[in-house]
Each structure stands twice: as C-alpha cells, then as structure tokens.
C-alpha cells in the first residue's frame, strides 16, 4: 500500500488521470520523439472544428463528463484580449464584437489581437521571466545596466514580427554565430546576458564567470529541455539519467562565450556617429602624438605586469589585486562585459580594434599609475586623460547593447568537482546528454546547440514549448511541471494532444502566432470558466479541461489594466526602463540604490518597462508574485493576499487610477447616473452591470454624495479624494464618483480573466 502511494505521489497523478504514455517501458516518454497521432474522430454530431477539441472531448466522453458551454461574448473578448495583449478590450472593441454576427467574428478578433503591437509586449514578458531579465547586476553592489532594455526591445519586435520559435532560439543562444550576423541577430544573445555579475571587491572573477555559465546551462535546461539539469552540476542526477559529465557537456557548449557590449546604433544614430568618430580619431592622434612613444612603453609595461599576475598569481599581492580589479570593475555602471578588460589585455595590440585600444587606454590612464607614478606625473597623464575624455564627449556615441561573442581563445571546460569552480576535474568535451539525439555535424558551439534544439529529431523542445503555451492559456500545462519533463516530472494529462501540438508546432514552421491562434480558436479555450460542483469533486484541478479557469492577472497586467481603464496608460513601445512611483521605504531598502521617479508619461508605461533593480524589486510586482529576477521562472504563482488588497485599496498609484477613471466617466458621459455607471462598469469588466449590481452601485453612489456634501470630516476632504475628477464636477460629486470607480477597480473580477 505504502509503495503504491509513493508511486502515485511520484507520478503526481490521480487514478482519474491514468494517462498511459504509449512508449516502450524502458525509455521515459519525454525522451522519445513525439508521434503525431491523428485527432480522434468524434461521432454523435459533436462540433469539432478544432482538432484540440477532439482530443479533449474524447477523453471527457470516456469519463462521461460534459464539456462546459462556451462563455458569453463579453467574457470571451475580455479573456482573449488579456491573454494575447495583456490589456483590456476597449469598449468600442467589445461593441464591435457583440454586433458582429457574420461567421468568423471570433477569428477576426483573434487576428486583430495577434497583429496588435501590444501582443509582442505581453509575450516579451515571458522571455523576460525565462531569462530573468534585470536592469542591474545583482549581488551587493547591484550596479546598473543602462542598456539591458535593448534585449527587451528586441523581444517585442521579434514577437510582433512573428519570428518563428526556431529562429528565436538560434538568435537568442547564438545570434552572433549565424553566418553574416546582423546587429539584430546579435541583439538576441541579450538573452544570455541576464545572468548576474558580481563586482564586489574581493570576488573572484573566474568563480562568478563559472556561476554565469552554470546559470545559463540551467536556463537552457528549464527553458528548452524541460529538465532540471542543475542537480547534475554537483552529482549525477538522481532520477534522470544525466551524469555530471553530461551536465558539463552542455556547460561546455556555453562556456566559450564572452560577454561583450557592442555599438548597436539605431537607424538615425549611425551616420552622425561615424562622421564624428573620424574627426575624433584625428584629434585624438594629434593629442597623443607628443607622448606616443613613452606612453606606449609605459602601457606595455603595465600590461605585462598584469598578464604576469593573471597567469601566475600569488607572487605579488598588489598586482594580483590589479588584475582582479580590472576583471571586476571594467564597464561597471554601464553593464559592460565584466571580463572584457582582461580579454583586451590578453590580446595582441595589433589585433585590438581601435575602440578596444581607446577604452583600454582610458582605463590605463585612470587606473594604471602603479606601474610608475613618477613617469605618470612626468608625462602629465592625468591631464591627457581629462583632455581625451573631453574629446570623447564630442562624439554622439550610439547606444550600446549587451550581447555575447565567441571567446577568441578557445576555452577548455572542465568537470568541476561538486560544482566547485576551483576543483577542476577532467577536461570535458562539449556535447549533449546521451539520452537525447546527438549533435549534427562536427562543430560544437552554441550555434550547433541551438540548431540541435530545434531539429526535427529533438523529443523535448517542441513539447516543452507548447506546454508552456498551454499553461499561459489554461493556467496549468498539460504537463503540470512545466520545467520538469524528466522522470520526476508529472505525466501529461493529455499525452496524445501534447504530442499532436508538438508536431503541429513544427509543421506550422515553429510559428508562435499560429499556435496561439490554434489554441484560442479551439472550443476548449472558449469554454465557460464557471465552476460546476459535481465536476469540482471529480476533477478539482481541472486537468480534464471540462471548463476554462479564472486566472488572476499577473503583476504587470494588474497595473497596466488599471492605468488603461483610467485612461492614463502610455502606449509608447520603445525605450529605456522607467521608474514609476513607489513608496520611499521600498526604494531606500537596498545598498546604495537610487530610485529617481520618472516624470510625465513615463510614470504610466506598461509594467514590462519598469526598471528591474535586482536587490530592490518593484514593490507592487512583488506583492502580485512577479518573480525574483535572480532565477529563471517558467510559471508564475497567483497568490491571493491581504497585501494585494491593501495595494489596490490604498496605493496612491491605484487611487490615482480611480480618480482618473472617475474623471473620464464624468467627462465622457453627460447622461444620468445609470448611464455613467453602465459606462464605467463596461470599461472595466467589458460587460454591462446586472440590475442587482447597478442597484447596489447606485445606492453606494448616493450614500457617497451625502457623505461628501455633508458637514463632516469626509466633506472637508472631498477635494482631496476627488483629485483629477474635480475638473469635471463639484468636489462632492467628483469624490462620490471616485469612490465608485475605486470600488469597481477593487473587484475580484477586475483583476481576473474569467
């Protein structure tokens, strides 16, 4: 009995869900290539316009459970607009859909949303969770990464443009290695640049470089392979047949990549920059000409000492430190590749680019005097430095971007005993786990890895990816453990459907938009989310998909939709991260962080543009389960806490939204209370209020009018409560409407997609 219990526990499945993967006994189902089964034909006149429904309904029929009817149209348009764009449908969009009685009305809504620029914004957030995006380094000093957002921008663009998943994979893991890589290709490797950097004095650069590669290897495992490979860093994986050598084989594929920032000019930046640089180069050479010889000798001596210390540490502490510091602080507060300074020093002078020479020279002038302080003085290098820096300010440097570059000198990977960076075991050849198909061809680099992931023979990637999509549209994956398809992961609730979707994904050219369209046009997706008591008793987790599920919005969507309903949301698509207001007690929390509140419309940008300071996460995000930016997140929690209630009730940002929503309602509608209430509710919930609700709101409105027009404390504060709404009505009237707006924005339904 105990054994059976344990077994069931391991499989994480109930007898009801006796899913039987159709594979040979000895190979775990997920390591076998998915076979595309034909969708079952449904008899009995069932409407099976979408194959997904055939799989789901067949299963329900076996168990004699009826699927739920379709949700009503207002619910549907709100659901799909939120799921595809993370925003509410505008009232006019709802009206149009309700009035559209021609066939294909649903598909027209879906296609409009898939073409919306906000689609890319919403889905970029998923990749930001997967890559654990941030605008700062992490660790104690948590320095800024002012150009991290270029990767986010790239994501939004790619997703909007419908870049297929295979290409997205190749660009994110190996965009720099693609033949004739463009800047846009290279920007994708920003994915790998979201690992943390430790710039704290005393940190061992190699230790943290190894940590970064380990992090990337784990990310690769969670995002593409659906495997918790991290365990195998220290020991052979207990449950999945992944040895330490295999973990380090994957590690080795990523090990030969260096962090580097590049100039990635936007279209308008390129010409003025190139012109100015030419002029700058001439003036720079002229400035340095008088001391060129001695300067060069001095810098060569400095570099030699550094290289010596780097190669044979432990002799001279001072120079050991200099070498370490070069590795730590290079490009700090600019988010530059930390080890680039050391890499430039290691490179022959003739092979360095002009820009590398320049940046190293500047570093030398400001940090190199230890080599010969007297000579530094004699050559007046302090003066030279300030002149050179001044010269540089005359160039309109284009904006840079964080990318990866193949290491110039091949870097041997070793098996690290117990995962310890200092304990080098045997050298490891780059390769992929034994249980999976081999790498094609002879090259063993990131490009080979990326192409292998999206090759036809790969059993995991398509499954893992469609499963994550499923989770986004239904709240739970077909495999509930979205990042663990291994032996310890749960079995799929619908194995054949999962495999069919995986095959479709490949057959449809890895098109993400097509898959999203396929899913949201299914009847399964369009079911009502209403809970049915009997069904609840049989299938409390909704694994059988006999209904949709009501899902609370993500942290970003909670804020974005409040701003949108209020008419405050700024829909601007581009640019650096912004710092919307949040309580001072939060911003003062971490070491040396400064949160300079953005001004103007930047206070109202969508949540994905909010600056992510790793040591001080944005408070509203934390309250609503935004993931910690230190670890890959493949699925968010949806908690329900009183801290969320306090935020929606009392956070000045949300109250400002209520004021703006009231102002908007008063300004837009000249009708009576009922018309205005109707309008307000429709804007927030995409549906008309029921008579019962309307009545309750009207009673409340009347009571609030009395409260604010009387002679008490409330009346005195009416103006403050009214805020921006007082432009459209007397303070007491405006304050009463703010109260109503705030009530609607605090409803469970407002932050839930049904």
């Amino acid at each position: 009995m105990v054994c059976r219990l344990i077994l069931v526990g391991l499989l994480g499945t109930s007898p009801l869900l006796a899913a039987k993967p159709t594979v040979a006994e000895d190979v775990h189902w997920a390591y076998r290539r998915p076979t595309a089964a034909k969708p079952p034909a449904l008899s009995g006149g069932h409407d099976s316009r979408n194959p997904i429904d055939c799989f789901v309904v067949e299963r329900l029929r076996d168990l004699e459970i009826a699927p739920s009817p379709a949700a009503d149209r207002p619910t549907l348009i709100r659901r799909v607009t939120l799921d595809l764009t993370g925003l509410l449908p505008e009232p006019a969009e709802v009206d149009r859909f309700l009035a559209d009685e021609r066939p294909g009305a649903w598909e027209r809504v879906v296609d409009r949303l898939l073409a919306s620029p906000h689609y890319g914004e919403h889905w970029a957030r998923e990749w930001m969770d997967l890559s654990h995006y941030a605008d700062s380094d992490g660790y104690l000093t948590d320095q800024l990464r002012p150009v991290a957002w270029r990767y986010r921008q790239w994501l939004v663009k790619q997703l909007n443009a419908g870049t297929p998943f295979d290409l997205l994979t190749v660009r994110q893991l190996a965009g720099d290695l693609v033949p004739n890589a463009t800047i846009a290709d290279r920007l994708g490797t920003g994915f790998l640049r979201q690992t943390l950097s430790n710039r704290e004095g005393g940190a061992d650069p190699e230790e943290f470089r190894v940590k970064q590669i380990v992090d990337r290897t784990e990310m690769l495992g969670a995002v593409w392979l659906g495997l918790t490979v991290g365990c195998a860093r220290c020991h052979d994986h207990k449950y999945d047949r992944l040895s330490r050598a295999e973990f380090f084989g994957l590690y080795a594929l990523l090990n030969a990549a260096d962090e580097v920032n590049i100039y990635a000019p936007r279209a308008e930046e390129e010409r003025p920059w190139l012109e100015a640089v030419e002029k700058y180069n001439r003036r720079r050479d002229k400035l340095l000409a008088p001391i060129a010889g001695p300067l060069r000798i001095l810098q060569d001596r400095w570099e030699a000492r550094l290289l010596e210390a780097g190669a044979r540490p432990g002799r001279e502490f001072l120079w050991d430190r200099r070498w370490e510091v070069l590795g730590l602080i290079w490009g700090g507060q600019l988010g530059e590749g930390q080890l680039e300074g050391q890499e430039i020093v290691k490179r022959d002078r003739q092979l360095r680019t002009r820009d590398e020479q320049d940046r190293l020279l500047l570093y030398f002038l400001s940090h190199g005097s230890l080599i010969d302080p007297a000579k530094f003085k004699q050559l007046k290098l302090g003066e030279v430095q300030s002149k050179l820096e001044k010269l540089r300010t005359e160039v309109p440097w284009p904006i840079r971007a964080q990318v990866m570059r193949q290491a110039r000198v091949p870097r041997q990977a070793f098996l690290h005993e117990r995962g310890d960076f200092r304990v080098r075991g045997p050298a490891i050849q780059a390769g992929v786990p034994f249980m999976l198909p081999p790498l094609a061809g002879t090259s063993r680099d990131r490009l080979a890895l990326a192409r292998w992931l999206v090759s036809d023979s790969h059993p995991l990637v398509a499954r893992v990816t469609v499963n994550r999509m499923w989770q986004a549209f239904f709240g739970t994956g077909l495999v509930r453990t979205v990042d663990d398809f291994g032996v310890r992961g749960e079995l799929p609730s619908h194995p054949v459907l999962l495999d069919w979707l995986a095959s479709e994904f490949r057959d449809r050219g890895w098109s993400i938009k097509r898959m999203h369209r396929l899913i949201v046009t299914s009847g399964t997706y369009r079911q009502s989310s209403r809970q049915r008591p009997r069904l609840q008793r049989r299938d409390s987790g909704n694994r059988l998909l006999a209904r949709q599920r009501a899902l609370r919005f993500s942290a970003e969507v909670v804020r974005d939709t409040a701003l949108q309903a209020a008419g405050l949301l700024c829909r601007h698509l581009e640019g650096p991260s912004v710092r919307p207001p949040q309580p001072e007690s939060v911003t003062g929390e971490a070491y040396g962080n400064v949160w300079t509140e953005s001004v103007g419309v930047d206070r109202y940008r969508r949540g994905l543009y909010t600056f992510v300071q790793r040591t001080t996460p944005f408070a509203q995000g934390t309250t609503f389960d935004a993931p910690s930016p230190g670890k890959t997140c493949t699925g968010r929690e949806r908690s329900n806490t009183s801290l969320q209630a306090l935020t929606l009730l009392n956070d000045p940002v949300f109250f400002e939204c209520a004021q703006a929503l009231a102002a908007r309602t008063l300004a837009e509608s000249r009708g009576g209370d009922v018309e205005r209430l109707d309008r307000l509710v429709r804007r927030c919930l995409a549906r008309r209020p029921a008579a019962e609700e309307l009545q309750r709101l009207a009673v409340y409105l009347a009571a609030q009018r009395r409260l604010y027009s009387g002679s008490g404390e409330a009346a005195e504060s009416a103006g403050r409560v009214a805020g921006s709404a007082s432009r459209f009505a007397a303070p007491d009237e405006a304050a009463a409407w703010v109260s109503v707006a705030s009530v609607v924005m605090n409803l469970h339904e407002f932050i839930t997609r049904d």
Binding site: T13, N650, S717
Partner: protein, 482 residues
Amino acid sequence: MHHDFVDPVEGSLQRRLFLQRTACGLGTIALGDLLARDSQSAEKSIRPFRPLAPHGTPRARNVIFIFMAGAPSQLDLFDPKPGMKRLDGQPVPASFLDGLEDPLIKGSARVYASPRSFRRYGESGIEYSDYVSHLGGVADETCVVRSVYTDVANHHPAQLIMNCGTNRWGHPSFGAWVTWGLGNAADNMPGFVVLMSNSGHGIDGGASLWSSGFLPSIYRGTTFRSSGDSILHLANPEGVTGRAQADRLRVIADLNRIRQARTGDSEIAARMASYELAFRMQSAGPELLDFSRESASTHKLYGLDQDKTRWFGTNCLLARRMVERGVRFVQLYHSTWDDHSNLNANLKTNCDMTDLPAAGLIADLSQRGLLDDTLVIWGGEFGRTPMNEVRRSPAPGSEGRDHHRFAFSMLFCGGGIRRGTVVGRTDELGYHPVEDAIHVHDIQATLLHCLGFEHTRLTYRHSGRDFRLTDVGGEVVESMLA
C-alpha cells in the same frame, strides 16, 4: 434541509444563496466555498481558520521558527569537539569516510578544529560557544539537539525539506500546515507571517519556503517587509476617512458576493477574506508596529538600541507581539550562514546580529508566560563539515567549512519541549550521530505532536493521495518532550 433542493449543477449556487440569506457580518459567508474544490471537510470549507480537532493534548499553540538559512556551523556554536584540536590540519581518518557517497563531502580536506571557545551555562551546564553566549544565557530553557540529519546537501532542496518536508516544489510549508491545522486566533493579522533579515544576501529558497503548496492560498505565509514600512499601504488614500473606507469595503464585498453566486469561483471567497483581513490589519497594524509603549528594558533586551542587532531584533520583537495577538506561526529568516570561507569572521557577523535578540526573545517569552504555549525553533537546513574548505586563499583566518548533511544542531524551547537538555551525540569529529540520529521528519513529527497533531493523521488529499508534512517518514522524539 437546504440540501434537499440542490440540483447537481446549480447546487452550490442554491446553497450559497441560502447561506447568504442567513448570514450576518461582513463576508462570513463569503468563505462558504473556499475549500469546496478539495472537499476536505464541510466545516473547514466554511470557516477556514477554525482549528481542526486535535489528535492529542496540545502543549503549544504558536510557533516562532527562526530559520538560519545557509547552514550555520554547529561545530563552532553548539557541538564542542575538544578532541579535534589533536587532529587539526590532519586528513580525516578513513573510518569516517567509509561508505560515503555524498558528492559534497570532500574526503581529501583536512580537519579544521573550531577556533571558538566553549563554556557551560546555567544549571543544566550545556555548552555554547562564545559567539552565542546570549543563547547560553537561556540554556536552561532550551533543548539542544545535536544529531539532526537531512537528505541533501544543497541549500534550496534542503531548505525545502526543513520547511516543507520534501525537496519537491509545490508542497505546503510547515507554517501553512500549522495554520491549516490550528487556524488563526488573530482576526486582524494573517495567521502565518514571514519576516526576513540578512547579512548581505537573501535566501536561496525564496517564496517556495513559505508556500501554501496545494493547500488553499490563504494559508500561504504573508511576508512583512524587512525594513521601512513593514506593511505597505496600511494607510487609507489621502482624504479617505475610516468610515468612507468601511463603506467602500462593504460595497466591494457585496458586489464580489453577487459575482461569486454567478460564477461559482471559490477564489472570490478567498479574495473577500483577503479584503476583510486587510481592513482589520489597517486598524491593528499601526499598533502592532508601534514599539513606543515597550519599555526601555525591552528595547534593550531585543537589541533595538544597537545598530548591529536592530534589524533581527525588530523581527524578534514583532514575532512576540504577533504571537501575543494570536498569530499562529511567525517565521524569521536570517541569511546567510553559508561560510565556505572566512568562517570565523562571517560567523561572528551573523552571531553579532542575531545572538542577543534571539536570546532576548526566549527570555521575554518566558517572563511573560508566553513560552508555555509557544514553540521556538532555531536552526538551518544542514550543518557544516568538520574539515577545512579552502576557497579563496589559504591564509590563516580565511578557512571555511563545506555543507554537511549527516549531523547538525538545532535548538528548541517552549510549549511541550524538555528544558535544559541535550539530545543526541555525534562522534569525535561531529561527522555522524552516534546516539539518537534524528531526521528532519522526526523533528517535524515532534513539533506537530507538541501542537496536538499526530503527524501521520494531519493529511490533505491532493492528486489522489493523502499528503503530510513528514512525507513518508517521521517519528516523535520522546527525549525532546517535557
């Protein structure tokens, strides 16, 4: 009976309407369907914070769990090994390594005798190191268990085992189990509160350590902020009076209730409960956080008068004040004790931050009579090796210790725990228990016992199986009990 007119599809709606009509007070009924999805027990689903019937006589009603994340070094704090001096710098005798397969234990390292000094405290004469002299001061209240062991030697998995009884994600934490089992005696505070402090680095495990897992989300730990305002947005928006806020909440509740009747969404009930609690926290919160009425000697006892101890001390005092107000489970996290190098110095930093306030908390609970029904736990996810780990430089003073899962120490006191006693003994290196090896599940079983629950019977059905905190293990450790 109202059941009689329930039809299978509309059933819950009818029942809810019935209950609604008979309900009084803000949202009592809103909780009606809270747990219906798991049909655990009808009673529980209507009043989620009503305690389950105990299986035995409860000795404790509250828990304060001081979780020292990163694994403090037991050999330098609680488990003196004078014999190690003799072996200092020597390879570990082979007899200790026999049959070890754990990849994290390095056979090649050398013994590192503790640089700390130990002495006996109190009538019980239990030894503590000089770094934890204040805890030594409450030795007679405390049960030191020196022979705890766990299953894994990686932080996050081991933290999960200590907090949730298994290293798999998605399982309820100890605090969630206790709040589910004992309910919440405070009607104006969450039943399970999490407070954090650190010496420069947060906790590896994060929110998974105070998760409600498959239990309903109201049992999840609520994190109060570690600095600044402990609870954000406690104050009404500018201009909104207390009465206006109450009106606002009433209409929100009414509208949510209407919606719930239409959709049958049990999460709406949880949302209503969150709002009710939020409203009550608004009145109770400022008073909870206001220490001005605590005496100067109390401030001193918790170290609020010193920079080093203020952060952790504030959390300790908050813990006491919450327990006084009926909060069931307060979990303090302090990180990180993960001293792979510079152990002697880093350990001092953490002890300087925490020793005085932790001892102050125990003394204060004791003198107020609160210790009788409050369990206090002090410990990390595993211990540290008897061997030296050389990570950064071989210079003297930079030694560290690696992860060690085979034996480590934890402290317990209060409600039902034997006072002034030592349980378990380790070998001369502190490598393995030689007496009373106690698994984490045994600890959990014992603590649940103190709280009145038989650990094999405090179960929850999920995915077709009854789950419990102690997974498939656990035995009550009689020698820890009073």
